[in-house]
């Protein structure tokens, strides 16, 4: 081993604490890169493979009743490679041991052979026997959540009649990787299941012999999907088609897509942040080391080492510092990747998980880590090359201080000299102080921009569950009912108040922009499910006009006063021009609202409702459940109390862990910045501080001079971090907004306070670590040595 390399190893050994502090920050960047890219690639690879092997459809459509021979017309559309018809219906389920009614989506299996599109993978048992009309297979997660065993079963309310069915198998389908019931906001595998059964059974029950009501289409590679979509719509229109849609609007798919997008955003945004801070820290530490080793560098040059050799020596030192961080990041990343996959397995149901730990992710993150430390090393290393041997061997010129306006203020305020030393140190090296404060601010920003999610969730829950939707439950019907059904619901046991609502499938168009949506017809003066504006006041619907949610308004570029085209996609159909009379802020879905009277008048129908929201007396809930389980025509019941609870459970579960993780990450950054700054300051000013100790300054007084500056910078950095964090949160809110939901930019005082507390705590902690060294200053050496 060359002598310079031996020096390198000893330097690294000596710098272990500072290297560790930098390594931890770098490790965060590397780990996030590994985890996020790993998860993103694993998830998207698994999804694509599953889609491809199980032939996930490209176009989905539903209608009321389409004769089977129409399928020929569909397959004849150019670009359609395959189409499959089926019967799809929602129904109430009565499960033993589950008091409340569950909801099922019934799907027919082909009369002959196995499904050709959206092929469910059988994970347990077998397919239903064709001769056994009430054998079913169910989605695996529903089966597991209810602790079913093969051969067990439950009751399905088919046309008002309770029909026991027997589970003979479980499946996983590319259509239901993320399984969420209609009207629900969270997956609930206990109360929502997908049930596949023989076509004949469903056709018989729902009077669809020789007909279908659901269609999925696979298009050929390169086919014009929009064109096919239009043709399918035209073909299905006479049969009550409600507007076909592309895969990107399919529920399960769009949830996965949103998750993938957020992973990509995180992988793009977060690691660079940690890399920048690491590079800054490396530059800081190496800069100081090189300043201390001036004379050695001069000596190396004097005895004939080239600039390149010396530069390489220090670059290697930087790489040495980075290596630890990269290795740690890899370790944490691999571990975290598996952890995240496990989390995904909880929400996304794949028959297998292709985990791509990807050696290339490790190489890329490793190279990024090396690049980070090398870039950080550039400036101090360049300085070594500029040192001439002679100059390098004499001490550096003393730092020049000058008085400025701050000194004048200091004098007027009669600040004591130790404080003056702090002020001068900051004003003499404003860039260094600024960067230190910036580094600390980034830590605070990381925390604010992560924790705000929980504030946003709180706001979301508050508006969605406590202001807009105050009902305890919602019943939905298979076909629209007259307004009097509301009174029928009110007569059910335990129902205290009921409000009907009409939902109509429609396509909204403004200019060249159009969107499939559902128009909700609302009764005025509702108390349970309300449409609220930004001020939480109930929106009053005018006789003629439509109110759009903010994101739908954005998609259509339609503002208040614009006239949009509304194409009703069910019943008699028809196209109408309606002015937009309001735009309201909503976090879930793409809602469009009209007065129920105006909607009915437009449709030339008497007022009908297809769902009823109601308030409950919990005391009679069992009786209600029993009544609902037996009710005809009911497609499902959503229990808002359950949704609220599930939401809170999920938030509570993840918020504790996440808050801890983010607090640790922020602390690591703060420690990296503050500990290194303090160590460097100590090495630069150790002699000065030791002299003060000799002059009779106490340890606390001397510590104040060194650490006071850092604590001051921390205090300045915290509001900076708040601001930066808010800006980052804004970016996150913008990039996370999807058709499914958007996140409000709400940051609570708690988040700000928590951030300040953690950052200040980590800062004080790092300062105390360095204070131990101040206490151990060698006073005698100072008496004799020259700096």
């Amino acid at each position: 081993m060359q002598v310079l390399d031996r020096k390198l190893l000893r330097d690294l050994w000596r710098l272990w604490a500072q290297s560790l502090a930098i390594g931890l920050v770098l490790a965060c960047g590397v780990a996030i890169l590994v985890v996020m890219y790993g998860a993103e690639r694993s998830l998207s690879e698994t999804q694509e493979t599953f889609y491809e092997r199980n032939r996930f459809a490209d176009i989905f459509a539903s209608a009321t009743r389409v004769p089977n021979d129409v399928l020929g017309e569909i397959t004849a559309i150019p670009g359609v490679s395959q189409a499959e018809t089926r019967i799809s219906q929602h129904a109430i389920l009565d499960i033993d041991g589950l008091e409340e009614p569950a909801m099922g989506r019934l799907l027919s299996l082909p009369e002959f052979g196995e499904p050709r599109l959206n092929v469910p993978t059988l994970t347990l048992g077998r397919w239903p026997d064709r001769d056994k009309p009430y054998e079913v297979v169910v989605n695996e997660n529903f089966f597991a959540a209810n602790d079913f065993a093969l051969g067990e079963g439950f009751d399905v309310t088919l046309n008002g009649r309770k029909q026991p069915v027997t589970i003979v198998g479980t499946v996983l389908s590319p259509e239901f990787i993320y399984t969420i019931g209609p009207g629900a906001l969270m997956p609930d595998d206990v109360r929502f299941g997908i049930i596949w059964m023989n076509n004949q059974t469903l056709a018989g029950t729902f009077r669809l012999q020789g007909a279908f009501n659901d269609l999925t289409v696979k298009t050929a590679l390169g086919a014009d999907q929009e064109e096919i979509l239009d043709r399918v719509e035209d073909i299905l229109a006479p049969y009550g088609g409600t507007g076909p849609y592309l895969r990107e609007f399919q529920t399960s798919h769009s949830f996965i897509a949103a998750e993938l997008e957020s992973l990509r955003t995180m992988a793009r945004v977060l690691p660079p942040l940690f890399f920048v801070i690491s590079a800054f820290l490396v530059g800081m530490v190496l800069g100081r080391l090189i300043a201390l080793e001036r004379e050695q560098i001069g000596l190396f040059k004097a005895v004939g080492y080239s600039n390149a050799a010396i530069s390489w020596h220090y670059v290697k030192l930087a790489i040495g510092i980075g290596t630890f961080g990269i290795l740690l990041g890899w370790g944490v990343g691999a571990w975290g990747g598996h952890g995240l996959s496990a989390v995904y397995a909880q929400y996304f149901h794949f028959p297998y998980l292709i985990y791509i730990s990807g050696w290339d992710t490790f190489i890329i993150s490793g190279l990024a880590g090396i690049a980070t430390v090398v870039i950080g090393a550039v400036r101090p290393v360049l300085r070594t090359t500029r040192l001439s041997p002679a100059v390098a061997m004499s001490p550096p010129a003393p730092t020049r201080y000058r008085e400025g306006w701050i000194d004048w203020i200091g004098r007027v305020l009669r600040v004591r000299q130790p404080t003056m030393m702090i002020i001068r140190s900051i004003t003499r090296w404003p860039i260094r102080a600024g960067l230190t404060a910036f580094g600390i601010a980034m830590a605070a920003a990381t925390m604010v921009s992560s924790l705000f999610m929980f504030d946003a969730m709180d706001e979301l829950v508050e508006t969605a569950f406590f202001q807009a939707n105050r009902q305890e439950a919602t019943l939905s019907f298979i076909i629209p009912q007259g307004l009097e059904v509301t009174a029928d619901v009110e007569n059910l046991p335990g129902v205290m108040r009921a409000e009907g609502m009409r939902t109509v499938a429609a396509r909204l168009t403004h200019g060249h922009l159009s969107r499939l949506s559902a128009i909700e017809g609302r009764l005025p003066g509702q108390d349970l499910s309300r449409v609220l504006d930004a001020e939480s006041d109930e929106v009053v619907f005018p006789e003629d006009g439509i109110v759009l949610s903010n994101r739908l308004s954005g998609h259509l570029d339609a503002q208040v006063g614009d006239v949009i085209t509304v194409e009703i996609l069910e019943g008699q159909r028809g196209t109408y021009e309606i002015p937009v009379t309001g735009v309201i802020t909503q976090y879930f879905g793409l809602g469009a609202y009209m007065d129920i009277g105006a909607l009915s008048a437009m449709l030339q129908q008497s007022a009908l409702v297809n769902s009823v929201h109601f308030a409950l007396d919990e005391g009679q809930i069992s009786e209600l459940y029993t009544a609902v389980k037996a009710a005809p025509n009911v497609a499902g019941m959503v229990l808002w109390t359950q949704i609220r609870k599930a939401f809170y459970d999920t938030i509570a579960e993840s918020s504790g862990i996440s808050t801890t993780v983010y607090a640790i990450v922020a602390s690591l950054i703060v420690i990296g910045v503050v500990y290194n700054s303090a160590r460097i300051q100590l090495s630069e000013r150790g002699r000065e501080l030791a002299s003060l100790r000799i002059l009779g300054f106490t340890k606390a007084e001397v510590s104040y001079i060194l650490l006071g500056e850092l604590i001051f910078l921390t205090l300045v950095a915290i509001p900076m971090g708040w601001f930066l964090g808010r800006t980052m949160a804004f970016g996150i809110v913008t990039s996370f907004s999807s058709d499914l939901y958007s996140i409000p930019l709400i940051i609570s005082q708690n988040t700000y306070a928590m951030t300040a507390l953690v950052v200040l705590g980590a800062s004080v902690g790092s300062a105390l670590l360095v204070r131990r060294r101040i206490n151990r200053l060698d006073l005698i050496a100072v008496m004799k040595t020259r700096e």
């Binding site: 201080y401 002059l695 008496m783």
Partner: protein, 235 residues
């Protein structure tokens, strides 16, 4: 009869590195009196710095006892030693050790702010002939001027003793003499007991008493019947 400010009895200092024991002081008995200007003379390694460090409360004895007036330094806690240095001792270092980010006046104020009965910084600087350089930073002053600021800083709290470690060691003869003059003036005007350690034999002639050090022991104590003025000293 002047009272002793320092009195040591059988002071021994051993640096134990584990493998070897180095005897820096081997039973030193010594008295230093009020208002006296003492020069401790010896080659490097003779133990004079160790003794000064012990007198200044920076180091502890291995054996023996050290008294500052009635107080025994040799069994004080670290905290008490800090208070002792703060209240009673003025230090002058070979390399000045001024705070580079503070002006001359502020360097002096650094000490006066934490003292019980200090003089004004201006006054202290005037005593060392630097009243015109008060607003300058150390980097803007010569070595001799910096050392005089250090003296002003040391005496501004009106210490009972002034301990000077090679105060002219980093200076040429001419500026060194200016520094010695400042020390002599302080000793005369304020009556501060001043102890100067040096290996520069020329300085001994300005002292009331010269203590010769070698091998960790006092070799000889000499009283100067007539003292030389600093301006007459040349090296």
């Amino acid at each position: 009869m002047p009272q002793p400010v320092f009195q040591t009895k059988g002071v021994t200092k051993v640096y134990d590195t584990g493998e070897i024991k180095v005897f820096a002081l081997r039973g030193v008995d010594l008295k230093i009196y009020e208002s006296e200007l003492t020069v401790l003379l010896g080659a490097s390694g003779s133990g004079k710095s160790t003794l000064l460090n012990i007198l200044g409360g920076l180091d502890t004895v291995t054996e023996g006892s050290v008294f500052f007036k009635e107080q025994e330094l040799s069994n004080m806690s670290e905290r008490a030693l800090t208070a002792y240095r703060r209240d009673h001792v003025g230090f002058v270092f070979q390399f000045y050790n001024l705070v580079p980010s503070l002006t001359a006046k502020e360097n002096v104020a650094l000490v006066t702010e934490i003292s019980r009965n200090p003089m004004r910084p201006e006054e202290a600087l005037e005593l060392v002939g630097l009243s015109k350089r008060m607003g300058h930073f150390p980097a803007e002053m010569s070595g001799g001027e910096q050392q005089r600021v250090a003296i002003a800083r040391a005496i501004a709290k009106r210490p009972e003793v002034l301990l000077c470690d090679e105060p002219t060691g980093a200076l040429d003869s001419k500026t060194g003499v200016q520094v010695l003059e400042a020390l002599d003036d302080i000793n005369t005007e304020l009556g501060t007991s001043t102890t100067v350690i040096t290996h520069n034999a020329a300085i001994q002639n300005m002292a009331h008493r010269v203590i010769f050090f070698a091998d960790g022991q006092i070799n000889e104590v000499k009283e100067n019947a007539t003292r030389q003025k600093p301006s007459e000293i040349v090296w």
